[in-house]
Symmetry: C2
Subunit: 490 residues, 2 copies
């Protein structure tokens, strides 16, 4: 066997073990008996230890030294890009620093949760300082003289930089603030009220997943507190939740189906290889968001959904498909990112991106974080944060050391805007199909132009390949301004 | 750290990884999307490879050489007994032989299934010859000059020998044959007929599991084709099935609850160590069988179950608790081991034990197996096998190389007979409690006298410790003769 074949055989097993570890995580969130938690922690730690040993295995280093990428084909070179990068990143971070980060962030999450419950920012700050300092050290190790925050972004959105992101976000922000103001000053569509039994929500949500092409032969849907998608290849499971508000269930499901469609759509040739998974958080989010928003919350699909809801729940108080479209897309004031609508969501992200970038680069002290958050929120949203759980303490991310992750949410929205524009050009009668609950042309286009390629190209090149143009915030802004301008009579 | 502590830390992780592999198997049988099978096979293979590497890790050999068991306490010595044995067994079997057995048995299972479907023994025999020859080689490697079949039994029932088992079985067989004949000549109790919806079966089965103390905080119940129990420690999951015949569901559940009670009842001090699992297949089966038969099919508990069934299904045609007790314990002619009742089950096992012992020792040729099976069946059951799927092709075991496993089913019944006798002596008013659906005294006694100890003692010593006497077939025979003599008016 050549060094490349040996390396890929080793990598194949590592990917398989990674899937096993992921499945354990799914099991824990979705169906594990609650008393099993302490044992599960031991099992996860043992798996992580096995995976870590494989990631830094000297055999990998020897194979990497032996392989001449220039002699390989396009796909093989792409595999090598992922494997080299993963090996180098793992090797750059000293083992004791990695262990310290794991220890501190594990503790920090509990402290954050308690501080949030107590509305006590001061109780969290000492811990956050530790996390920030450790992540800065890690960033320095990874950046090796380069930009610390870019090195962190690279973990989630390879080869994207804060400068590129900032250019995009800074151009979008004023128009989003203006759109938000105009929308909230206009007359709002009716709100959904009524009684929507959980079992009927689950029955309809399975139908919606099927309408978006979710492959139940290679996945399943379970109920959890915080929905997510888990797994790659032939076993991609989604979760959802029911609540008083059925749109929460339905659009969580469609969002996760978007993530799953990406994983299920990747070429089977890449099964259990580095190319066999979504290429980045941003591109992943573009799939969940285009399914959820540009397709799922569009006038055409909501027309079909309206009929499904009447068939499922009977008369639920909304009279026409037009009213229903407005209700689905109603914009409300709010503090919480995860509850935000299409108009406001990216403003939440831009706030976090600017603050965490400043934190990591040493331009903002942890002690000044809450004030900076509250100032920025008031400026972008027009009203003051009322309590820390609605402000700087609302998200778990920073407590667990996720810096560089937040911007990928909005990158996903930006990419979804680009893909939606290209999709509409390629499939002119798309809305006629969506109005029948038929998303096959949309998913077919996404699969053919993006999903099948997995990790073959960089995230930005993945979007460029699919749309014919480099990623830009303009299509998303144009889409939002047109959609909400129409809906709110602006 | 001492060598013992280092070894135990390593072993702790190995046990945790073993639990992960077991959970994958559970997932596959219970809830996995069916299209995931090829990927799951890769995941299982990767886990097996990790586990195998740990089992033969030279570090383990070095620690074992360094540790002086005589310096250890009782528990630590017992841990060492398990670890040394596992290491030695794994080291004794050449890697290429183990790989060849894995390859051939994996193929053989499919060939067996097809041959059974086609009623074509000849199509299976060449493959079975390969399996038998390979298992004989493995047995020779393990036995190192000793008895080949004993070396195989030792995998499932440590330190038990075929001579001991044969002495027990040969003494029991004539009395079981006689009991079977007498019972089937007598007037049979009524058969259960009616409509028992699957959802109501599942609701009642959960209640039955709870009545036997199944700990839902550390387990769950799912539906499968072939019920089983999976996992140790804090996460012990059982499965059941529904069918037209609700006793199938209820007694499958109670059987698996018995297995689970053992795993859930082991001292938490032994969590993720070799002592933290049931000590043998036979002792495991003793727990499932005493729950299912001596407790669950007894007159007292069935009186309570009768009321539960009336509450669940309404009038289902059986008029009195006495009739119901008869119906639950009705003995029918039949060819299939897994469908056999208490009277006939062990005759099925004894047949297989004698045949596989002769096969392994070279006293029976594979070509003569079917005739030997059919002769023995006619002699013990009084009528002829009508087709191979009801005879020599009915069980999967031999195709996958499970030799030495069958006798543990009847050893479990024998042990259950011993435990039942001791339990009744220790808790004289047990039936009054069982008649209320209260099994806590029974489970409490089993937990205190057997379950908590896990792998601390050998299987035989485990029974002796609990009952005060060495295992013997006599209590089981006395119980069966009394119960069915009474039921059938013999």
């Amino acid at each position: 066997m050549s060094a490349y074949d040996e390396l890929m055989a080793f990598e194949h097993s590592t990917q398989a073990l990674g899937q096993v570890a992921g499945r354990l995580g799914w099991d824990q969130e979705a169906i594990m008996p609650k008393g099993a938690a302490p044992q599960r922690a031991e099992e996860m730690a043992a798996m992580e230890s096995v995976l870590h040993a494989r990631r830094i295995d000297p055999k990998v280093g020897a194979w990497l030294a032996e392989i001449d990428d220039a002699q390989l084909g396009e796909v093989e070179r792409a595999q090598m890009r992922h494997i080299r990068k993963s090996y180098e990143r793992t090797s750059k971070v000293p083992a004791d620093l990695a262990a310290e980060i794991a220890k501190v962030t594990s503790r920090a999450q509990g402290i954050w949760a308690q501080a949030r419950a107590d509305e006590d920012v001061a109780a969290f700050l000492p811990t956050l300082k530790d996390v920030v300092a450790l992540k800065q050290q890690e960033g320095q190790a990874l950046a090796a003289g380069g930009n610390v925050y870019d090195a962190m972004i690279d973990d989630y959105e390879p080869e994207m930089t804060a400068v590129e992101i900032a250019a995009m976000f800074d151009a979008m922000r004023p128009r989003l603030v203006a759109l938000r103001e105009a929308v909230l000053a206009a007359k709002a569509p009716p709100q959904l009220v009524g009684d929507f039994p959980a079992d009927k929500q689950m029955a309809l949500t399975a139908k919606l997943a099927a309408s978006f092409g979710y492959d139940f032969d290679h996945g399943r849907i379970d109920c959890v507190t915080h929905p997510f998608c888990s797994g790659s290849g032939l076993d991609v499971r989604i979760t959802t939740r029911t609540s008083d508000e059925p749109f929460n269930c339905f659009y969580s499901t469609i969002h996760e189906v978007g993530h799953a469609a990406y994983e299920q759509g990747i070429s089977r040739d890449y099964l259990l290889t580095p190319l066999g998974r979504g290429v980045s958080m941003g591109v992943h989010e573009s799939q969940s968001r285009i399914y959820e928003n540009q397709l799922g919350r569009g006038r055409a699909y909501t027309g079909w959904l309206f009929e499904q809801m009447k068939a499922t729940f009977g008369d639920f108080g909304v009279k026409t498909a037009d009213d229903f479209y407005g209700t689905v897309n109603r914009v409300n004031d709010g503090y919480i990112r995860t509850e935000a609508d299409e108009v406001q969501y990216n403003l939440h992200i831009m706030l976090r991106f600017d603050l965490e970038r400043a934190l990591m680069l040493g331009d903002l002290a942890v002690d000044d974080l809450e004030a900076a958050w509250n100032d920025r929120f008031a400026s972008d949203f027009g009203y003051a944060v009322d309590k820390p759980s609605n402000g700087v303490l609302q998200d778990v991310h920073w407590s667990v050391g996720l810096f560089g992750y937040f911007p990928t949410y909005s990158l996903g929205n930006v990419y979804a805007g680009c893909l939606n524009e290209a999709l509409r050009n390629a499939v002119p009668n798309l809305d006629a199909q969506l109005a029948q609950g038929d998303t096959s042309a949309a998913t077919g286009w996404l699969r053919q132009n993006l999903q099948q390629f997995g990790g073959l190209r960089t995230p930005a090149d993945t979007i460029t390949h699919a749309t014919g143009a480099a990623p830009s915030g303009e299509p998303l802004l144009a889409y939002l301004e047109a959609k909400f301008g129409d809906l709110y009579g602006l």
